[in-house]
Symmetry: none
Subunit: 192 residues, 4 copies
Amino acid sequence: MTQTPRTRAPRSDAMRNRQHILDIARDHFAERGISGSLDAIAKEAGVGPGTLYRHFPSKEALLAALLSARDEEIGVRRDAITRTTSDAGDALAQWLEALIEWASAFDGLPEPLRAALGEIPSPLTSTCEGYVVVTDQFLARAQNEGLARRDVRGRDLFLMALAVSWARGAAMADGASPSLMPHILRAGWAMA
Amino acid sequence: MTQTPRTRAPRSDAMRNRQHILDIARDHFAERGISGSLDAIAKEAGVGPGTLYRHFPSKEALLAALLSARDEEIGVRRDAITRTTSDAGDALAQWLEALIEWASAFDGLPEPLRAALGEIPSPLTSTCEGYVVVTDQFLARAQNEGLARRDVRGRDLFLMALAVSWARGAAMADGASPSLMPHILRAGWAMA
Amino acid sequence: MTQTPRTRAPRSDAMRNRQHILDIARDHFAERGISGSLDAIAKEAGVGPGTLYRHFPSKEALLAALLSARDEEIGVRRDAITRTTSDAGDALAQWLEALIEWASAFDGLPEPLRAALGEIPSPLTSTCEGYVVVTDQFLARAQNEGLARRDVRGRDLFLMALAVSWARGAAMADGASPSLMPHILRAGWAMA
Amino acid sequence: MTQTPRTRAPRSDAMRNRQHILDIARDHFAERGISGSLDAIAKEAGVGPGTLYRHFPSKEALLAALLSARDEEIGVRRDAITRTTSDAGDALAQWLEALIEWASAFDGLPEPLRAALGEIPSPLTSTCEGYVVVTDQFLARAQNEGLARRDVRGRDLFLMALAVSWARGAAMADGASPSLMPHILRAGWAMA
DNA sequence: CATGAATGAGTATTCATTCAT
DNA sequence: GATGAATGAATACTCATTCAT
């Protein structure tokens, strides 16, 4: 009731606007992949490009915001895995599965995520690094219990998860067996 | 008497022109990755964009020509592996290594290769399909000797090879352990 | 008891705010020239663009405020010249030197000053006109003593001072002889 | 008769197109000063922005082309001065007058010309340097005949000519005495 | 008064592709 | 066949100015 229609009202309620942009951007990316332009999203959202740029100065920043909205969800998932899965190997496998899903939210997402791990920092970097840390924790547990190779690092597995997500883009489209890849991956880090 | 000396601008001989473009394009892609514009390559090659376009109507077509130039080389490698490697598992592993190298020729190459496996055919599709077939052959041998899982397909392994190549782009840059990935991959398809 | 300590965010006292903006703007212009955006200054000053806008509705207005802050200083200089320099020609020359310096405070300043003398009035106009009047006074004295040409007007000399300041921007950068220009200028209005 | 109307015909006759753009640009700059956008000129000329960029990749390049079209005219003027003016001082004065006129072709032109004399080279640099050389020649003659100060350089006079042109922008608009400035300038470099 | 979100026209620039010559 | 001029949609980004709160 007190909600003003989104008609034209600029609404100093910036948060509402920001959220609206995020909603539109999520849909846009989900439908068309991340290759679209920020201007297009601004237009869809019914705001000027300047408004979008104020909130999210780059595509990476927008993606980071979109992903951080899922942060809590991932945290819950991590805790659930920890709680419910006593086998450290299974736990790591499930966590990697979660990462693969996470990176598959939008077509093309793995690319900027990979870039964020490179030399040049991006708004996505801290998110990625955070998940690398979590991966390291799961990995350490598995290694301690002799369920994972010692020469693997969390960063490698994170990267492989991105790679699997990247590969899936094509795999899903042509009826390949996407669910196999995590298994391939698991065999990779598991002890013989 | 119509023979112009082979000095510098030899002859509008189309074949010669085509080859010249290919040479330039290879260098260009090798140095700057595949993201550059075709116009830039045309300029470097000293031909008009129209000429380049006549020979290679799209970047994919140009890449396909570039890759098919390596066809023979890969064939030789395939034969060498077959000849010298009696263990079918090792043979498959070496073949996948060869694929990873092959897909790493230019920065960004894995992307169009993956796309070529998707629904929309591209000039790269037949090249990729051809290598999928070869992968299937190596895989079949390994499976027959009980050295590879039966639920894996050549297509999956080809895709994983591309994915490893894709991931390496970042991995090499930040000092990760790139050489580890093929091992992870191998463990993935090998029998326990 | 309503007195907030003068710690850091002292008081929404408008005057204080205004002065703070001026301080920041002076530094900003001195470092980067006048081409920067008002938004940037607002951000640096820690106020919203609206606030800056309330105080100074345009860049010219801001510059005018900045320059009027130097009014007193220039007045002192004018009086000093008058007091200490008996030769009316020398006095005029020194005054023009002062103007050149004054217009060189910020990179790019001569441009809006010149514009302020044009048809369209600007917040800088009255400042400029004021100095034209002073120039006329110095000039009149010099003319009366037969030390300056009769066909020159204060406006012309003011404009030439701006022009010298404008030219200096480049001159200083490339090792020209900037100090020569005032001499050229002086020879220009002096009697043979 | 064989002239195709400029209707829509792309006309491989690029020169004609280029000339058309130049004509439009000259008018545009003459009317609105050089501050307008290249896009606007492209639109006026009825060509896409890409076409304009092909011919003139920057505003400086466009200005340089516009000015070089006047090169011959200036050369003729220089020769005429040399031929008809025996007094080396008068000759220099007339040359500077020519420069002032030249730099006054478009409102705002002196600015990029000054910049072209700075550290960063621009398409206008060689034009400017060329005229500096000519100025040096006229100056040398005047100096040799004891008609010009020895401490002045051609570069300084060229810069002062630009400065006078710059100042004139305002002067003309408000009825000042623009013609006086060259005299002021001349007195500046002349021997007492 | 202060705030800072929103605006949205504006600018520069690129590039795949077409097509007249 | 070859050429390269022309196209023009598309993209990224800026900034003075307004206005709701």
